[in-house]
């Protein structure tokens, strides 16, 4: 199992609005590219109206080939660029993306 995680710090009071926009403008396309949204975590565990929220949006891929497939499909999709470059920034203070795997799977993943 492989997880692609978007870690987003929203502007104060914009956490819920960001998640709504993410689910509307970005998530359906990522599902269509073969990834599954398995967690939508919010910290702290309440929407803040005067401070940033931090969200972890966790996408799951079954194997490395599925990661490549999703990447290649995203690069040809103008909606992806529009989301990250135009639609998301008004909600966001900072973000980062990471690709994770279970610690116990690392040896097998590297044995290629």
């Amino acid at each position: 199992m492989i997880w692609i995680v978007d870690e987003v710090e929203t502007k104060p009071g914009m956490g819920a609005a960001f998640l709504d926009a993410y689910m509307t403008h970005y998530a359906p396309g990522n599902e269509a590219r073969g990834l599954k949204l398995v967690h939508r975590m919010v910290e702290p565990a309440m929407w803040l109206d005067d401070a940033p929220n931090r969200l972890l949006l966790v996408w799951q891929a079954d194997h490395a080939g599925a990661v490549w497939t999703a990447k290649h499909r995203a690069r040809g999709d103008a909606a992806v660029a529009r989301w990250w470059n135009e639609q998301a920034p008004p909600f966001i203070l900072s973000r980062r993306r990471g690709t994770y795997a279970p610690a116990e799977a690392l040896e097998a993943l590297a044995d290629v």
């Binding site: 490395a64 990447k71 690069r75 992806v80 993306r97 690709t99 795997a101 993943l109 590297a110 290629v112």
Partner: protein, 215 residues
């Protein structure tokens, strides 16, 4: 060493004659090492052939490519009726490593690392890319160099070369190792904040019967 790499695409009907002319001219310019081979099916912006010559230094390279011996090749490479596209880079020896051992497959990628290319980001990109061969066993020989002359689809900034025992080493282990898709790929993926390398790149490869990347 100073290297000159040419990746031409020829007009239909001109390929064989052009290849013969370039082969003859290349053999006569005194390169210390020379590769000239047709590309294999599956390249991306990879041209019809890879021509790679190494010289002791840039002045020797420039002199060779201005010589009368090279003139017939230079003429057809500059003729759009014969050569419909040409990517070209010149680069001194960069970060290099691995075994000089046997033939197999030579692969080269040309990158343009031009999206917010701060020195810190370029250094991190270079370090992570050059570390890939430590993790990916199928990379037998490699070099990561910065281009100081470049033309074609872009003003290329980086030349990433590898040698493999066979094509499976490139399309299997290199592509499927997490050092690639989970780590270095961050510099190529527009969805990562580290995004650095323009998506339009050259990915080309050819068969080799002896090592190509010199020290």
């Amino acid at each position: 060493m100073y290297n000159r790499l040419l990746i031409p695409t020829f007009a239909p009907g001109h390929r064989d004659a052009a290849m013969a002319t370039i082969a003859e001219a290349g053999a006569a310019i005194g390169a210390e090492a020379l590769l000239f081979a047709p590309t294999l099916p599956g390249v991306y912006n990879g041209g019809d052939a890879i021509w790679r010559a190494s010289f002791a230094h840039r002045a020797a390279c420039d002199a060779a490519l201005r010589s009368a011996a090279w003139a017939p090749a230079a003429e057809l490479l500059a003729d759009p009726a014969v050569t419909t596209h040409l990517d070209a880079v010149g680069y001194a020896t960069g970060k290099v490593g691995g075994l000089v051992d046997g033939g197999g497959l030579y692969r080269v990628a040309l990158f343009r690392a031009a999206i917010d290319p701060t020195p810190e980001r370029l250094a991190a990109f270079g370090a992570q890319t050059a570390a890939m061969p430590r993790a990916i066993r199928s990379i037998r020989r490699w070099q990561l160099a910065t281009a100081d002359e470049a033309s074609g689809l872009h003003g290329w900034t980086h030349v990433w070369e590898q040698e493999y025992a066979d094509r499976a080493g490139l399309e299997g282990a290199y592509m499927m190792h997490p050092a690639h898709w989970a780590h270095v790929e961050r510099w190529f993926d527009p969805e990562y904040t580290e995004f650095l390398v323009h998506p339009l790149l050259v990915h080309s490869f050819c068969a080799i019967d002896r090592p190509v990347i010199a020290a």
